[in-house]
């Protein structure tokens, strides 16, 4: 049973730790570690059983992956202009789109136009012979390490619900995001940094803004911590505001000591309440985070070669490259889940290329291609790919026919995603779309399947990772999802 945390629960702070309540408010160090969500299982050999009613969130089986970097292309990256090579589109360019068999053709925001061929050259790359267009020359050198999902399908053709679906498994707001589920399930690897970090495009937040990285009904500790590299204060509330001059370092240091002493006295008078103890611990952890966070954000310590690898020396790649490099530093220091966004919400400066694919898509690719390839190579070189997973996702694909001549409308029918790293069989392409990349053909991958597969790599059975909320057993994969075993090493 996993009821929401009651305000008065004597010994359970997080719903996932509700079972502690039945231990009679135990205050040992294990209990405290649980309260604050420390990683308890990974690295050990045991794989504790997870009972459905309690949903005690420790790994279900031996994990291949300990941390995840998800690269999210906001807006709906055009699959047939990047990876899903379709000679049929070149052959029939300019014709009316007719998939035959009386199938109804519609587009969400426009009147379907004529078949629009990609304006980019495709070549096969690597041992696996994967087709990649010339928009992604750097990534093309990595294809033997990537497992492609060539026929992903969404339930909607609209940004908001589609982004929620890819991020939370539901079309509506208010459900826990992918990173939050992972935090909830596995806890943290370090005391010094948040468990789930989000690096939004410096031009703005994506569609749904923070809804995409909210913890929903899970405790707020599982929500994505936003590091805004474009702002004056990258992490909110990490230190006192400049306006509060009275808060000197000495006042903070002495104050924290007095506060903790005061809280301990209070605890002595209010026995049997581990939340009070947990708050005392939280302030100590907060102090440690204040020290660690600035170090991880400082990229100056990286070598010139590394900085150039990520493209920090070129304006076009600098922003995304900086965030990819930061993502590596974060996972290196024990952050469990990092999400890096390319593209803000709104009609431009993202992957939502309605008006002109030829003009709008190349800059998005140029900004991300080198940094992503650099990230893969850097992780590999440092041995981090041994237990790190890199994901490339978008909320849906685009239409094989044109919108107003040169652009493409949204298409939830089929799109492409890939993964690389620990536990992944490189060079695989799973699934296939129809001859026009209009709808997923066979071996379709839903968001549920994709999430189930990643959870599997993390040692989690998606069907048993459950949280009871308002009477329903909620999962990241709703009531769906199959692990795609074809991409597992």
């Amino acid at each position: 049973m996993n009821p929401p945390t009651p305000r008065s629960a004597p010994a359970s702070v997080s719903p996932r730790r509700e079972f502690l309540g039945r231990l009679g408010g135990g205050l040992g160090s294990v209990a405290l570690a649980q309260l604050l969500g420390v990683d308890q299982v990974l690295g050990g050999d045991t794989a504790p059983a997870v009972g459905r009613p309690t949903g005690i969130p420790l790994a279900h089986h031996r994990p291949r992956v300990r941390r995840v970097i998800q690269l999210f292309m906001n807006g709906g990256a055009s699959q047939m202009d990047l990876f899903d090579y379709k000679p049929e589109l070149f052959r029939r360019a300019g014709e009316k789109f007719d998939p035959g068999a009386g199938q109804h053709v519609e587009a969400p925001t426009s009147e379907p136009g004529r078949i629009l061929k990609p304006q980019f050259e495709f070549r096969q790359h690597g041992q696996c012979g994967r087709w990649v267009s010339n928009l992604l020359p750097h990534l093309a050198t990595c294809v033997d390490d990537l497992a492609f999902f060539m026929a992903m399908a969404s339930r909607t053709n609209v940004h908001g619900p589609a982004s929620y679906l890819m991020n939370t498994g539901f079309l509506l707001p208010g459900f826990p995001s992918f990173g939050s589920w992972v935090s909830y399930a596995l806890g943290r690897l370090t005391d010094n940094l948040p468990t789930f970090v989000v690096l939004p495009d410096t031009r703005g937040l994506p569609y749904n803004q923070r809804g995409n990285f909210s913890s929903g009904f899970l405790a707020v500790q599982h929500q994505g911590t936003v590091i805004n590299m474009g702002g004056p204060t990258p992490i909110a509330d990490l230190r006192p505001p400049d306006s509060a001059r009275f808060i000197t370092p000495a006042a903070s240091r002495d104050g924290l000591a007095l506060l903790q002493q005061f809280n301990r006295t209070h605890l002595g008078e209010n026995p049997g309440d581990s939340r009070l103890d947990a708050r005392i611990q939280a302030y100590e952890l907060a102090a440690r985070m204040q020290l660690s966070a600035p170090e991880v954000l400082d990229l100056q310590g990286e070598t010139e070669a590394t900085r150039n690898l990520y493209g920090l020396n070129a304006p076009v790649t600098e922003d995304f490259g900086r965030r990819c490099l930061l993502a590596r530093r974060l996972v290196e220091r024990g952050v469990r889940f990092v999400q890096v966004w390319s593209g803000a919400g709104g009609p431009t400066n993202n992957w939502d290329n309605h008006a002109n694919i030829g003009k709008e898509l190349p800059p998005m690719c140029a900004a991300t291609d080198q940094p992503i390839a650099a990230l893969l190579k850097d992780l590999q070189a440092r041995g981090l790919l041994e237990d790190t997973l890199v994901l490339w996702n978008t909320e849906f694909g685009r239409m094989p026919f044109s919108q107003s001549g040169e652009g493409r409308d949204h298409n939830g029918g089929t799109f492409v995603g890939w993964m690389a790293g620990a536990g992944v069989r490189g060079g695989v392409a799973y699934g296939e779309s129809d001859p026009w990349s209009w709808k997923a053909g066979h071996n379709v991958t839903t968001n549920y399947d994709f999430h189930a597969t990643v959870l599997h790599l993390l040692g989690l059975d998606h069907g048993r990772l459950i949280f009871r909320h308002n009477g329903a057993d909620r999962r990241l994969t709703d009531v769906h999802g199959e692990v795609v075993r074809e991409v597992l090493a």
Partner: protein, 1015 residues
Amino acid sequence: MTKLFGALLLATLPLGAASSGAAASPDARLFEDTVRPVLEQRCYDCHSHRADKIKGGLALDSRRGWSLGGDHGPAVIPGEPDRSLLIRAIRRQDPDRQMPPEHALTPAEVAALETWVQRGAPDPREPATAPKSVSGTNLWWALQPLVQPAVPAGPGQPIDAFIAARLQAQGLTPTPTADRRTLARRIYFDLLGLPPTPEELDRFLKDSSPTAYEDLVQRLLDSPRHGERSARHWMDAVHFAETHGHDQDRVRENAWPYRDYLINSFNADKPYDRFVQEQVAGDALFPDDPQAAVALGLLAAGPWDESTLRDIREDTLDREIGRYIDRDDMVTTVMQTFTSTTVQCARCHDHKFDPISQSDYYALQAVFAGVGRGNRRYGPDGATQRQRTELTRRLAAVEQRDPAVLFAPAALKTVRDWESQQTTNLVWQVVRPDVFVSVAGATLTRQPDDSFLASGPQGSTDTYTFTATSTLERLTAVRLEVLADDSLPQHGPGREPNGNLHLSEFQLLAFPPGATNAQRLELTHPSADFNQSGWTIAHTLDGKDATAWGIYPQVGQAHEAVFELREGLKLPAGTRLTFVLRQLHGGHCIGRPRLSVTDAEPPARAEVKPAEIRQLLATPDSQRSQEQRVTLARYVLRQDLTAQLTALPPAALVYAGAGDFEPDGSHKPSPKPRPVHLLRRGEITKPEETAQPGALGCVSALPSRFTLADSQNEATRRVALARWLTERDNPLTWRSIVNRVWQQHFGRGLVDTPNDFGRMGGTPSHPELLDWLAVWFRDEAHGSLKQLHRLIVTSATYRRAATYAVSPGEPAKAGTTPLPENFRTASAVDADDRLLWRRAPIRLEAEEIRDAVLQMSGRLQLRMGGPSDRMFDLQPGIHVTPKVDYNKFALDSDAGSRRSVYRFLFRTLPDPFMDALDCPAGDQLTPVRNASVTVQQALALWNNAFIARQAEHLAARLAREETQLEGQVRRAFELTLCRPPAEPEQRDFVNYAREHGLANLARLLFNSNEFMFLN
């Protein structure tokens, strides 16, 4: 008649009773003896409602299950084993479908099922999830009829007697009554959400009356602060927020009246049944009460997917899916909030655990089939509201060509009168501008007819200005024609690829000879021969750049718009006229405009009439067909009714859910309820029968499907549901609300899952007490929530201390707190305090913390109501969603010092400080808040600018109110913790304040556990 009916009943009885075995038919025996065991043992693990996941969508635990079948269609075709997929699968005929997958059935088992199907597949089973027993003693507790149990013998009021009985049975001794100081802090926070001020506390401590506590409770219940506190709880439960919450997270400017409605309702102690009815069908049940219309804010409280429901094409599957999802939110909100049932779990299949069928679920969807969310007019008074309702009704009837309205005697007269005025023939004089400019740099080329053809780059926004010397002596109206042209997309008249245009604002300036400043001429009565839905010509005069006139889908043809001058203007010879066409919506520029002027005398209306109407006017009435009369009557009456509506005293707007609301683009009211189908597996592509409005079959005292006189009037459906919810005999409603109120005072309900009284929810810790309270609340308190609060908080149970007496001691070391013996004993029996042997401490909620800090710092302003306080900087975003920056808010501004219930709630960007303290974002129904303890929360309290600033204010206050440091520290404790400091604390904090100042001292106290928790 009675006799016949009785006979029919008897005749049908054996079928229904077959499964009970007593009168089992041969068919039933065949099933029970040879079929059911096989299905249960070999198939149910994957293909029944007991499976974790029903594989392939096929459930074999009911007739409905196999006849609907799974992904591949019906599993059994009665009488045709060879065509039945089930039989083919167990025979392992097809290589890709062999069941069960691992161990094949024995030949005898296969034969049994074959025989069964051959004989027509008789299946006497009840649907798996139909009420397992809707009557009798096995009935699930929440569905049992409400009967008030006898109060156990024992001390104190009934609540205490029920509690004591259980404690005694478990051998538990309750903690003593809390001291008065603790009690005062507790009751102030619980009833008001604010701590007592030192003065209020002092008054209570010095009150020696035996009813001092009861008197205090009464004072607090009478305080307007109490309504604010209760409203916030309700806003959690119904997931209220003030933006849409998707990719187009638009601000709802008019959501706040619902919040004020809640505050006022709680303060007025509105009877609960009326409160429920107003929020579901207040518009129809109480048409004269403007506030009852505001109550419908409930139905629109949740998120709304603007892209899907307004912006994408109307004919897409995505739009239709969006409507079902939108209604699902309404069904879920109403049923979870009022009846604590999880009806939404029956969307794709019958409820797996509770007796709620998929048919029940879609019956509830049908209740809301005519409801949309949007801005609704209400007030300002009952009479006006009634008139508006009537005019709106007639307008809808006109749109629907209702002859009773179109040809009513009064209507006929209106049409005749109008026609008699349409005699003047206007003479338009085309303007010949000599100066014409496109701000965005489009090329405007004069055409032979003095129109101007636009070419070259289309600006993302543009303004055309045309200036000409007037040839008239007097000006009464101007005309703008937008003409078609073969060079334009879709032949125009707009430049957008779809041929549309958007004119945001139309302005007219006059420069009399010699004048240096332009005179802006006031335009009125805009009319056009065609208006795009939601993009009417009136938008060109509303002063808003964001709204505009459009003509889609009537592209490829000319259109015209006419504007009258409010006052006719004398034009001295040589006066220059400048026409300004502001086109700011993005693209959508006009392709070929032409301008004209007239000096026709008023009152002749210069309105543009559609060509069809102009022709009709030229036809004598006697020669008009019936269809033409309808056309003319609709045209005239539509104008007349609209004018009457416009002339009513101005209404206020509330964002609410109902049948009528202001259209917003393609999101517009539906003239009648939309058809709702039962969707197999919840999939839009698998619609089944049309759903009839109704509610839950498992509440057996009430009819589960509504009998409606006028089912096409959507409001009647909501009225029926509102009545169903508030029936005396609906046990769910009354149990649900008393449980919620109980939770507010103990941090947890008697049922700890307030939105789920089903089998997956909690069971009541004190079922008799819950029922006693529910009946008492319904029958004796007559739905008065204040009486219920009073009853609970004046119980001895509520007044218990958090712990047994503990002697103040040394600071505890983390993790090694010794538990007192009696505490340990009680914990061993009931660690969760389900039996209420103590009052467990509660962590303050985000609003309590923020409001208390403001009160302590002396900054709290108690002004009530009105638009919400935007505690952020708001700038236009790159698309719909505005740009919100909480760091750029002036902390000391007026908007920053009211109670938190008045904060503007932005869904996709909630206030990070409140968020860290578990304040819900309004995305999900939140009947119970999390009360987390996190590192982020510690950082927020320690470093957030709000706390830092209030610490400075509190320091300044202390310095004002006390002169000596010792006194200042004492006062700080009294303000923040409701107690004076103990001796060692006094010493330590004085030393600290001496070194680092009072503001740092205040910061510490705001961060202390003692402040954060309520004993």
